[in-house]
């Protein structure tokens, strides 16, 4: 069966403007599939600048890959035209990081929600439009009578982020890309929003790509995870395996740095070998070499392939070279739905 979405060896290189010399490889040969019949929640994690937002922008067709292809239902998304393009625009929705940036301050919430309804002709009458709007707001735990008619600045950050989610839901997408959708809300609201995302996934069969720094919430909603480091996949697999038994030295550092809200679980048992680097250094081998406490001579020579370290877990690290190699194209087979 044709996957809903497929990344085929996608690389994105930004060649910068006048100021800077170096080009940045923001995403480095990533292959990935989201199956249509197995709705899933996939987390993409990794440090700042590791390529997470780049992946989202590529997937939405906002930027084009430097190498490789992105297919939606088997068709290259850069070649979609007419009806197919409209379908793609409706079926793939995004919720972005900053709720303050998204909204035009002069339009009310009603306007924000009716525009997509009109644009994609989702309702035949005013009352049907109203029903749809209210349904979407309730799905994210908002009372329509509380928020309709208000302007963005009359809403809290958490309400705005939820309206963002509601807007995406209205369109009943097949795939939702959520880039840090709850970064600005407190723990209790986070729980409410993530639960509504998970319900969507279950009730409507919507696949979600959840991009986040917050591995605690990722652990609670997602089925699987991909850990990026400077554009490359370091580790991937079932979320339970990767969070509970991380294998790659970078993932271990990452997991060990999660500030758990538990005063008996001390932060950071692992020493942080090297500090964050300035941008732009180019290396031939494993990108984590300069920070890795286990780095060996060969790590500097060629990037490690993905090794299968458990049935649903791969790590790109020579420490596991006795394990079977998994071709990058087969990454998705290691991710449970």
């Amino acid at each position: 069966m044709t996957p809903l979405l497929e990344f085929r060896n996608v690389t994105k290189i930004y060649t910068k403007g006048l100021l800077s010399r170096a080009a940045t490889t923001a995403l480095d040969n990533v292959s990935l599939k989201i199956e249509d019949d197995q709705p899933t929640i996939l987390t993409v994690a990794g440090e700042s600048g590791s390529g997470k937002t780049t992946l989202a922008m590529l997937l939405l067709g906002f930027i084009t890959p430097t190498r490789g292809q992105i297919l939606y239902k088997g068709k290259d998304i850069t070649k979609l035209r007419g009806e197919e393009k409209i379908t793609f625009r409706r079926e793939v929705q995004a919720v972005f990081q900053d709720p303050f940036a998204v909204f035009n301050p002069f339009y009310t919430v009603d306007h924000l929600l009716t525009v997509p309804i009109d644009k994609f002709k989702l309702a035949r009458s005013k009352s049907e439009a109203r029903d749809k709007m209210e349904e979407a707001l309730r799905a994210v735990g908002l009372r329509p009578e509380d928020v309709l008619g208000r302007f963005p600045h009359q809403l809290s950050g958490g309400q705005r982020q939820r309206i963002n989610v509601a807007r995406a839901l209205l369109l009943k997408p097949r795939l939702l890309v959520a880039d840090e959708p709850v970064s600005m809300v407190d723990a209790s609201l986070r729980a409410t929003i993530l639960e509504s995302l998970r319900n969507l996934n279950r009730e409507y069969g919507i696949s979600i790509i959840y991009i986040t720094h917050d591995l605690t919430t990722a652990y609670h909603v997602a089925n699987s995870i991909i850990v990026l480091y400077r554009g490359s996949v370091m580790e991937a697999g079932s979320i339970d395996r990767v969070i509970r038994e991380p294998q790659h030295p970078y993932t271990r550092l990452l997991i060990d740095s999660i500030p758990w809200p538990d005063i008996n679980r001390k932060w950071g048992q692992t020493e942080i070998a090297a500090r964050e680097q300035e941008h732009g250094s180019i290396e031939t081998g494993c990108k984590f070499t300069s920070r890795c406490p286990f780095a060996m001579e060969r790590c500097r020579q060629a990037p490690p392939p993905l090794y299968q370290v458990a049935p649903q877990q791969v790590a790109a690290c020579y420490l596991y070279e006795q394990q079977p190699i998994v071709e990058r194209e087969r990454l998705s087979e290691m991710l449970p739905a």
């Binding site: 100021l19 950050g157 809300v185 209790s188 720094h213 609670h220 909603v221 500030p259 809200p261």
Partner: protein, 335 residues
């Protein structure tokens, strides 16, 4: 705490925003004490007034906002009694504020040292060039940045490094109180940890008190000594980090703690039902009463005061008497 006198005292601070829809009471007679070396975490729902309180302490509230009452002392200096010119000097040297989203507001076309120099000149115009340069290097080194970062532009730095620069600016004049407003919410956990370790070290060096504002309860658990929970412009509870995480007393604080994800309760979500109250039409009595599972008759009319309970805890809730025991009304409720 063995320290004799508090470094920060906030007494009945009150701020309103005058909006078209009416007066929004964003900070409702809030009081707070902090001792040298103490780290306080300030948490609470988005829009509850955390940044407003920080700005009010700095006397940086802008119209339509207005500070309507209260006093702020740093050591013996009453900030609220200073002239504008005196206050300008107090900022950065007595109390400094690292604003929410600071790292994205660094000027992209100015070198880091130019931005740091401007910050010093704004507050200490008579400082000599050589001394300014020395301060800049010192500040950069104390946040573990190399001196050559001074010559760089913001875009040449990673997110973590930019956040360090903002901390460096905040400590340029060795303040006694540092307020950091969500300093790491845009950073990954490894970088977060490094930045917090730096803040911790810098604070120890200066012997300053730190107020960390944020949503990340994990960060609070790992970093602060005391947690203050704010709701609708008032503190509901201020307790040691251990008491707050193991035995929160105020029902809102408890709901907040219970909503936290842990490794053990995978897939369990416990959000607090209902919405944050409007600051323009605050519910009478305890502002949390419409959402509180323990609300009693008295809660609907009488605003509970922040009382000192045994164990150095401050709690504003009608459930408890001054000994920290459940009141008769509360016991009757519980059946």
């Amino acid at each position: 705490m063995t320290n004799p006198s508090p470094v920060l005292r906030v007494i009945d601070l009150q701020v309103s925003y005058y909006t078209e829809a009416g007066r929004a009471l964003a900070l409702d007679r809030v009081s707070l004490e902090l001792y040298p070396g103490e780290k306080l975490g300030m948490v609470g729902e988005s829009g509850c007034g955390k940044s407003t309180m920080a700005l009010a302490m700095m006397r940086m509230i802008k119209p339509p906002g207005r500070i309507e009452g209260g006093k702020v002392f740093v050591g013996d200096t009453e900030l609220t009694a200073l002239s504008e010119a005196q206050m300008r000097r107090a900022r950065l040297s007595l109390i400094s504020y690292i604003p929410q989203g600071a790292m994205n507001s660094l000027n992209p076309v100015l070198r880091i040292e130019a931005q740091m120099r401007d910050a010093i000149r704004e507050h200490q115009p008579e400082m000599s060039k050589a001394e300014i340069q020395e301060r800049i290097y010192q500040a950069l080194e104390s946040v573990e940045l190399r001196r050559n970062v001074a010559r760089m532009y913001p875009h040449e730095l990673s997110g973590g490094m930019k956040q360090r620069v903002c901390i460096a600016i905040g400590i340029l004049l060795s303040p006694k109180v540092i307020i950091a407003d969500e300093p790491t919410s845009a950073l990954d956990v490894v970088t977060q940890r490094q930045v917090m370790e730096t803040l911790d070290r810098v604070q120890k060096q200066l012997g300053a008190a730190v107020i960390l504002i944020g949503h990340d309860m994990g960060l609070m658990a790992q970093f602060v000594d005391k947690v203050a929970v704010m709701y609708a412009g008032k503190f509901t509870e201020i307790s040691s980090v251990r008491d707050m995480f193991t035995n929160p007393l105020h029902p809102y604080a408890r709901a907040l703690i219970e909503s936290l994800p842990t490794l053990e309760n995978k897939g369990v979500f416990k959000g607090i039902p209902g919405l944050a109250p409007s600051l323009i039409r605050r519910p009478p009595g305890c502002a949390f009463h419409p959402r509180c599972a323990h609300a009693m008759e008295i809660c609907k009319t009488v605003t509970p005061a922040l009382e000192r309970l045994p164990g150095e805890r401050l709690v504003a809730c009608h459930l408890y008497d001054r000994e920290g025991n459940l009141t008769n009304a509360a016991l009757r409720m519980a059946g």
